[in-house]
């Protein structure tokens, strides 16, 4: 059982709980038949204050967004001031609850000593419900104009700067205003509702196979397996909501009087596969395996449902060879491995080849009700079939010094052929999104290395170390003839980021200054640039006749590159800063400045134990990852209306008094991404590489002798720290280096509108514990 408190203090209901229970029995009826069965139950429950149904602007966003000057708490009348805090405090709970049940039964039949049959049937049922208890908020409303305070005679009241009432003529007297303590959520508006979603998903899995072992001349071991697996699943969900709660303390469907809305759906799928496998080992030195599968999926059109998938692997245990005898004192085990094979992927929607139409409710009203409308049929490619994953893996395992030191290395190449991707090359005149089909190839090459070591010294001190490192890159091919940098052109590396190279910030001496020492705004001419010259564009006059102007990036009406603004590198030397044709072959001054895929992921664990004390530390890190941030925590000057701003920006932006600043001169980009100074560029790309101490634990186990006396089997005390230390290169920005912008459990792609760093922060937790077994 796990019971975990969340990050949100106000409202006191941000929690996660998990219960697990399992039972498993096995019975050998006779020497031929063994029967087994089991059941498992698990419940996961997430509770949080239900402030809004929005996942694109939830309370976390506002907590980061609002300035630290903004008052939180109660005003002098004891009323809460409208804020994310007050809303969390006043909110009712939302509860997500998942019940998972798994039942399984199986049998093994030993027909002969070397021939057996295994059968297992699995049934899982997952119930999910999500209840959202809404409310209406009342607070001192800082979003509406303050109300002037009058006394009983209707005369204006004056206060001093402390808020004390003073006479009109007194020193420092100002008119008194109050925030009005209003219910500010409209009746029936979000979140004045109760909402419930229920979902039930069940799945049957059958695995049955037979195994036959054959040993010839004691040196040749064969194993034959043939089998079948079957998966069939189905799910149903419905949701309903009713607005206008009668009692905001007890949200109930029966006690709501407003609009009812409902929805629901159903889905099902199935896969069936037959497989055969042959294993051969010669003296446990030479190992071979061959597989052949024949798989069918409900996802594809009838003629394309079934496919063959072969695979092969081989291994050589070199340390078993007699000619390796000499190495025995050091080398305990050495094995070379290689495998190659195909498997299929069918995890796509089941209607990719069916031109179907969705029904949606419209906001057009006729005859007293909202109309439903049937939308255009989906555009389709008819011959959709399996995606093929071809894997080639070469590896070596070695262990030394009586297995104390181990080393594993793998190099692999995974080629995904017939990728599920939209048909390439459609344009807007088609009138719909390009349909998915099987096109193109994604090739991933990578390696994994792991090392482990453990040793116990004579004095009882035990130490163990584990370290791993892996890395992979993926490249597109055979998909499109397009060379546009934003397409999946041939040779594109997955996750690459195209941008400009930042040269530096402009300084005063870059400009021709006027008598007052200020740069001068002049009309652009064709000599200076080919952009924005005919429309009367302007720029600050630069020194030198061959100076490079950047009018292409003067995206706001009153923005001109001046002292403190970003100077980009004219990489292709054509005297303009632009993206050329926007193609790989002529990207203008753009280049690949980074990649958003995590590279060089590594981890290491150090452990030691001595006389009942145990210690472990687990570090995790990513060696290379960049993202171009979004929103006010990542982009200086993103939008002044956002209020809060990271100290890193505030403390180090360009002003005439701080000319060697890291960030450019202040400008309000009005909430628009990638404009003016903030073009995607090398200098302000976020370096998301990090090293984090994920866990460090110190424990003490009380010795057996002591425990036996008090009839306790095992007693351990421990203290653990989670995520306590992180080393990153984010220049002090309040962004977690592990985060992916826009990803959360509430909204997988556009959480809080995709802004960087505005979700639930990573937990830092310290815990003390006792483990007790009787």
């Amino acid at each position: 059982m796990i019971d975990q408190s969340g990050m949100l203090k106000p409202g006191n209901s941000d929690k996660f709980q998990r219960y697990n229970a399992a039972v498993r029995v096995s019975s050998e009826l006779n020497k031929y038949v063994t029967l087994r069965g089991g059941a498992m139950f698990s419940q996961r429950k997430k509770t949080y204050p239900y402030v809004t149904s929005s996942t694109t602007a939830d309370p976390w966003l506002y907590l980061y967004r609002w300035s630290s000057l903004y008052p939180l708490g109660n005003n002098e009348d004891g009323n809460p001031i409208r804020s994310p805090w007050s809303e969390n405090e006043a909110a009712n709970d939302a509860i997500m609850r998942r019940n998972y049940i798994n039942l399984n039964a199986g049998a093994t039949v030993n027909i002969m000593s070397n021939w057996k049959v295994d059968m297992d049937y699995n049934f899982t049922n997952e119930d999910y419900n999500w209840r959202r208890n809404g409310t209406r908020f009342t607070a001192a409303n800082s979003w509406a104009a303050a109300q002037q305070r009058f006394d009983e005679n209707g005369d204006p009241v004056y206060v001093n700067s402390n808020g004390d009432v003073v006479g009109a003529g007194d020193e420092g007297a100002i008119l008194a205003y109050d925030l009005s303590n209003d219910p500010y959520t409209a009746a029936g508006g979000v979140p004045d509702h109760i909402y419930l979603r229920s979902e039930n998903e069940y799945k049957s899995t059958l695995n049955a196979f037979t195994t036959y072992n054959l040993n010839l001349n004691s040196d040749h071991d064969f194993k034959f397996i043939a089998g079948i697996n079957l998966v069939a699943g189905r799910g149903l969900f419905h949701e309903s909501q009713k607005t206008n709660l009668l009692d905001i303390d007890n949200p109930q469907f029966n006690l709501a009087t407003g609009t009812q809305t409902s929805g629901g759906g159903e889905y099902w799928d199935s896969q069936l596969g037959y497989f055969g496998r042959v294993n051969y080992a010669y003296k446990n030195k030479y190992l071979f395996e061959g597989n052949l599968r024949y798989d069918g999926s409900s996802t594809f059109p009838t003629v394309l449902k079934w496919r063959w998938f072969p695979s092969l692997s081989a291994g050589w245990v070199a340390s078993e060879e007699s000619f390796m005898e000499w190495s025995k004192p050091v080398l305990s085990n050495l094995k070379f491995r290689g495998s190659w094979g195909y498997i299929g992927n069918q995890a796509v929607a089941s209607d990719l080849y069916i031109p179907n139409m969705e029904v949606g409710e419209s906001t057009w009203i006729a005859n007293g009700g909202k109309l439903f409308g049937v939308q255009s049929p989906a555009l389709r490619v008819m011959d959709v079939t399996w995606e093929d994953l071809e894997t080639l893996d070469l590896g070596v395992d070695a262990r030394f010094f009586s297995n104390k030191l181990g080393f594993t290395f793998d190099w692999y190449k995974k080629t995904t052929n017939n990728l599920f991707v939209p048909i390439e090359g459609t344009t807007y005149t088609l009138g719909g999104p390009a349909p998915l089909g099987n096109y193109g190839t994604l090739t991933t090459k990578g390696f994994e290395i792991a090392v482990d070591f453990n040793h116990r010294f004579e004095n009882g001190l035990g130490i163990n170390l584990r370290a791993n490192l892996d890395d992979a890159t993926s490249v597109f091919s055979d998909y499109t003839s397009s060379r546009l940098t934003n397409s999946n052109y041939d040779g594109k590396t997955f996750g690459e980021i195209w941008g400009y190279e930042t040269d530096r910030l402009y300084q005063y001496d870059d400009f021709v200054l006027d008598g007052d020492g200020q740069p001068q705004l002049v009309d652009l001419t064709a000599d200076m640039t080919r952009y924005n010259t005919s429309g009367g564009g302007k720029a600050y006059l630069l020194n030198g006749s061959d100076a490079v102007y950047q009018p292409r990036f003067q995206n706001s009406a009153n923005f001109y590159f001046g002292p403190g603004d970003v100077k980009f590198m004219d990489l292709n030397g054509d005297g303009e800063i632009d993206n050329g044709d926007g193609t790989v072959d002529n990207p203008g001054d753009m280049k690949i400045i980074g990649n958003s895929t995590p590279r060089y992921s590594y981890g290491f664990r150090l452990g030691a134990d001595f006389k009942g004390f145990d210690f472990s530390a687990f570090f995790q890190g990513v060696g290379q990852r960049s993202i171009w941030g979004a929103g006010f925590l990542a982009i200086p000057g993103f939008h002044v209306s956002d209020g809060a701003m990271p100290a890193s920006f505030v403390d180090d932006y360009w002003t005439p008094d701080n000319q060697d600043a890291f960030y450019p001169a202040a400008f309000n980009n009005g909430g628009t991404a990638n404009v003016n100074n903030m073009q995607i560029q090398s200098k302000y790309l976020l370096d998301m590489s990090y090293l984090r101490l994920k866990n460090v634990t110190l424990g003490y186990t009380v010795s057996k002798q002591v425990l036996d006396r008090i009839k306790i089997n095992n007693l351990r005390l421990y203290v653990a720290l989670e995520n306590f230390f992180t080393w990153d290169k984010l220049n002090g920005l309040p962004i977690d280096p592990e985060e992916v912008s826009g990803e959360s459990i509430f909204n997988a792609t556009n959480y809080n509108s995709g802004r960087t760093g505005v979700g639930t922060p990573t937990f830092k937790s310290a815990s003390f514990g006792i483990q007790l077994n009787f």
Binding site: A187, T243, D269, N356, W364, L371, V374, Q375, R483, G536
Partner: protein, 624 residues
């Protein structure tokens, strides 16, 4: 043991005949095929329902602004903002057009730009109407009566014509498709632009079919021949006058203008609508069902949670970034039917809002507040057209949902008789002046401009002293000293009538585009930089400090005297602060170019065509 082996064998045999097991089609969507859909009138109606909110936007919904009056249509030479005036597009956009290729984005109702308020380079709706026409022909025809077939064909062709009219008004030449394209038919997809006239001839054919075949009544809330005819008169007037004033094909100009005139005439002759409701009631009524002037409207309903925010932005508190400039105020006729310079009405030359409310056409009082209101940050002239009179009582208080936030429920007129008669009289006049059409008579004015001027007045307006404007007389047309030399006196009055009628609606920006008067946006006279006549201590006075202007206006407030001198408030010259309000920090926009009449396509779109061996021509004037 043998038994178990048999069981095992049995199970595997069972699953080897698994055709059914793997047959699990999508359950929650309808398949587009002859057997599963397009079976009856109801299927067609459901398919057509999807068009409605994209074409009959009304006040949009929620906080949506596209194609909505005031919140969406707030850019024209009527209006001036504080600071820098919004520039017209200055360079060709790089991106493919701003919409990603997802279904939702394609279906979104959005406006490309303020100066050409039409759709983006987006053919979702063209495909939709082409599919409907195609399926009617291939699947539904045998299952429908002739009348049903004709009606639903007319509905599909109406929306296709509407969409192409919008696309043409934004981009000029566009590729014309009359059939749905398949995802791998690249030759069709990448075909070049068709000539604007060719496209609009196709639209013309569609519209003619609509006017002959659409039902005259298909139930409340569903498009019918009258609503279609009224909207067709708008679209055809746009195209006919564009062809005419932009010097394109004069034969086509005549043809389209005649259709504009005839479609309007059809609505007028029906006698179903009249000018017997007051102007304000058109925009602020909870229910437009009985309104005698409204031909087609969009219903909003609190219980159904279909609400809008247009009224809120007219409630006296919400900001209006662009607001009416003196050029617009001066264009309103006085109640004696004369321009202010020649009017005999007392105080006709006063530009105090309080005076304008009674000396000018009653639409002035119904459109604007009669006091200065600072949330109209441009000129302080606040448009109150879309909120009920009682909404102003809530300034400084919490608004009821009806007039606040995105919870407004006033119904929106989609098309009303005033548009029809003004289209009609303008089409007639262009035809008369240029194409040998019969001259506009006094009787024609009686059916159009003078019928509008004879609208009843509501009680509050009457109590304020608002009176109806005298009829326009052919024999005594106003002599406006500001009339453009290339516009006849009668045409000038027809245009003025539109300007007064449609403040903050869809018409003005498109009118100056089709008249080839986009250069009005150059704001090269002072009237564009000024608001109404203010008396600082009265209009912006400090309540707690009588005789003083609010301290926040020190060094901010400026007025212009009649002789053109500008006075800035310095904290002590309160008495001098009387004059035309000067827009704060006014800076003019970049000069309008000829190319700004039409939108360019993006660089990457042209590149995309090139990449695949096709050619998409750039809109004239935007080539690089």
């Amino acid at each position: 043991m043998k038994k178990l082996a048999y069981i095992f064998l049995g199970t595997s045999l069972l699953f080897s005949g698994c055709k059914d097991l793997l047959d699990r089609p999508e359950l929650t969507k309808i398949v587009d095929s002859e057997d599963t859909y397009w079976r009856n009138e109801n299927d067609l109606r459901l398919f057509a329902n999807d068009f409605y909110t994209n074409y009959f936007v009304g006040y949009n919904s929620g906080f949506g602004t596209a194609y909505a009056p005031l919140t969406g249509y707030n850019f024209s030479d009527d209006l001036t903002s504080q600071g820098a005036q919004l520039n017209l597009l200055g360079s060709v956009p790089t991106g493919a057009g701003g919409t990603s290729m997802t279904n939702t984005a394609l279906r979104t109702t959005s406006v490309l730009r303020a100066e050409h308020p039409g759709p983006n380079w987006n053919f979702y709706w063209v495909r939709k109407s082409n599919i409907m026409i195609d399926r009617l022909e291939t699947f539904a025809k045998p299952k429908l009566s002739e009348e049903e077939f004709n009606h639903w064909s007319a509905v599909a062709r109406f929306f296709r014509g509407y969409e192409y009219s919008r696309l043409v008004s934004t981009f000029g030449d566009v590729p014309y498709f009359d059939k749905p394209i398949t995802a791998d038919d690249f030759d069709q997809m990448y075909k070049g632009r068709d000539d604007r006239g060719m496209v609009m001839d196709k639209v013309y054919e569609d519209f003619q079919f609509v006017l002959e075949n659409m039902r005259e009544d298909d139930g409340v809330g569903y498009v019918n021949r009258y609503a279609a005819a009224a909207l067709i008169s708008n679209l055809m007037l746009f195209e006919g006058s564009w062809q005419h004033y932009h010097g394109l094909d004069q034969t086509k100009a005549q043809k389209y203008l005649e259709l504009a005139r005839d479609a309007a005439q059809y609505v007028m002759d029906s006698g179903k609508w009249s000018f017997t409701a007051d102007f304000k009631s058109l925009f602020v009524s909870d229910n437009l069902a009985g309104n005698p002037e409204v031909i087609f409207y969009r219903t909003y309903d609190d219980a159904l949670a279909v609400r809008h925010a247009v009224a809120s932005y007219s409630n006296g508190t919400e900001g209006q970034a662009r607001s009416a400039n003196l050029d617009l105020l001066k264009d309103f006729v006085c109640v004696d039917g004369q321009v202010w310079q020649n009017s005999a009405v007392t105080d006709a030359n006063s530009f105090r809002l309080q005076d304008l409310a009674t000396t000018r056409d009653p639409r002035f009082e119904a459109t604007f507040m009669d006091t200065i209101n600072t949330p109209a940050t441009g000129t302080l002239v606040y448009a109150h057209k879309f909120a009920g009179r009682e909404a102003l009582d809530y300034i400084g208080k919490t608004y009821p949902p009806k007039w606040g936030s995105n919870t407004n429920i006033s119904d929106a007129p989609i098309v009303r008789l005033a548009e029809v008669v003004l289209n009609w009289v303008e089409a007639k006049q262009i035809l008369a002046e240029n194409y040998g059409g019969p001259a506009v008579t006094q009787e024609d004015l009686g059916k159009s401009i003078n019928a509008i001027r004879n609208r009843p007045l509501d009680d509050v307006a009457v109590a304020k002293g608002v009176t109806k404007t005298a009829p326009l007389q052919l024999s005594a047309l106003p002599n406006d000293p500001n009339r453009d030399a290339d516009v006849s006196a009668l045409m000038w009055e027809i245009r003025r009538e539109r300007r007064m009628e449609f403040v903050f609606e869809y018409a003005r920006i498109n009118d100056i585009r089709r008249w080839k008067k986009l250069t009005n946006l150059n704001y090269n006279n002072n009237d564009f930089k000024l608001g109404s006549w203010i008396i600082g201590t009265v209009d912006l006075g400090d309540k707690n400090n009588p005789g003083k202007i609010l301290a926040s206006f020190v060094n901010v407030l400026q007025v212009m005297k009649t002789d053109g001198t500008i006075v800035t408030y310095n904290g002590s010259n309160d008495a001098e602060m009387v004059g035309f309000y000067v827009v704060r920090n006014f800076t003019n926009r970049l000069a309008v170019n000829n190319r700004n009449y039409l939108a360019p396509v993006s660089i990457s779109l042209i590149q995309e065509y090139q990449d695949r061996g096709f050619t998409l021509n750039q809109t004239p004037g935007w080539e690089q």
